[in-house]
Symmetry: C2
Subunit: 259 residues, 2 copies
Amino acid sequence: MKSQFFSNAKGLLIDLDGVVYVGDGAIDGAVETINWLKEKSLACRFLTNTTTRSLASLHSKLTDLGLPIDKQEIISATYAGVLYLRQQDRPSCHLLLTDDPKDDFAEFPQNDINPNYVVVGDLAKSWSYDVMNRAFNMILGGAKLLALHKGRYWQTEEGLRMDIGAFVAGLEYVTGQEAVVIGKPSPQFFRMALSDMGLTADEVVMIGDDIHNDIGGAQKAGHKAVLVRTGKYRSDLVEQSGIEPDLVIDSIAQLPDYL
Amino acid sequence: MKSQFFSNAKGLLIDLDGVVYVGDGAIDGAVETINWLKEKSLACRFLTNTTTRSLASLHSKLTDLGLPIDKQEIISATYAGVLYLRQQDRPSCHLLLTDDPKDDFAEFPQNDINPNYVVVGDLAKSWSYDVMNRAFNMILGGAKLLALHKGRYWQTEEGLRMDIGAFVAGLEYVTGQEAVVIGKPSPQFFRMALSDMGLTADEVVMIGDDIHNDIGGAQKAGHKAVLVRTGKYRSDLVEQSGIEPDLVIDSIAQLPDYL
């Protein structure tokens, strides 16, 4: 059972959280599928909006889960944020991040009074009125709002959890300033991965569990996109979205059936 | 120096915070102006989006500041939220409010698991990831999002502070559900005040310091609107708004010069 649109595929973009692992466990068959892809010499990049870990720490987690993924194959929103800031003129930052991913931003001066950039990532339990109010005042004072992503929710073992898009959208509303959004579904993020692979959008298929960020984002960037029914997948939310995946499969383990 | 558009005025809608008081002090001349308005038998209603106090506690604060305002003359977003819920079919509520304004909602059953309504007001220092995540899951589970207002910021003695609109906009974004917004700038809120005064919109002028909520909202509801340069007034934010007040005066103390 080969799907027509895979005939041209030379590479894959694969989401991490919800597609190859959930919480602290690999998805059944993910390890085997990734090994199989590598045997077939298909180029792979793992595109993640996760901002809770530095690149080094994320790679270490994947290795611990037994997932055969190289560090250079990971393209995280956090690291893409670093690449974005390198292109700016002497950026100073106020980082809404936990300590581990802050490491990735060590090359930029931190300024917690009047920075050029307020960088929004995941603060876990540390979100508070004061955190938001300080960011609000920095942005009113001239800082740009840089969102590492603008996700709505993600899947955990206990159910759906609200994502940082709530705080990004909130800051946009109160300041009247639209954020620069780095991670999925930003087309630049997909282009960054393509450029790294040396392939064109029609040669690369996206695999994800997030109907907006993975499927909608990839399709807008010119990719075909496959939705998996693991992770944050929920049929009612897919229907509400108005986005139509090119293919829906039960999990990444089914991928070899279609290639 | 009489302004043309006041010639028809039989009543006034006056914002409280930033117009008649800031923090714990009455604005200079506010007491005298309100006394003067009452001597002239102009109908007054005080329209406030404040959700940090019950109606009783708000009236007590105004009295302590020496402001000659009757409890029946105050129309608060909190109380308007109560009136809205009374029109719904057996509403159960999860209240994002501090204890004092919760008193106003005592007649409705509280349900902190699967309520019909998530009511968003000011939680002061108690905003957190968990508060937002619980509200997010309740709304995904079927609850309606009822925002007592959607203000962007307000003025304090220490400067501008971010308002609850950040959290309302954030919940709207992650849930995909538009909030029912009760307070200013909702046209229904202005109509509620008019109905209480028995006057028409062209007979009543709004006085406020918030370019969006007071001036934009009142104009959309058919009122002329006067912006005061006290409270949260900032000329740059007025310019950015694209909203043009019918008149701008230094403070409420100048009002008798124009009537």
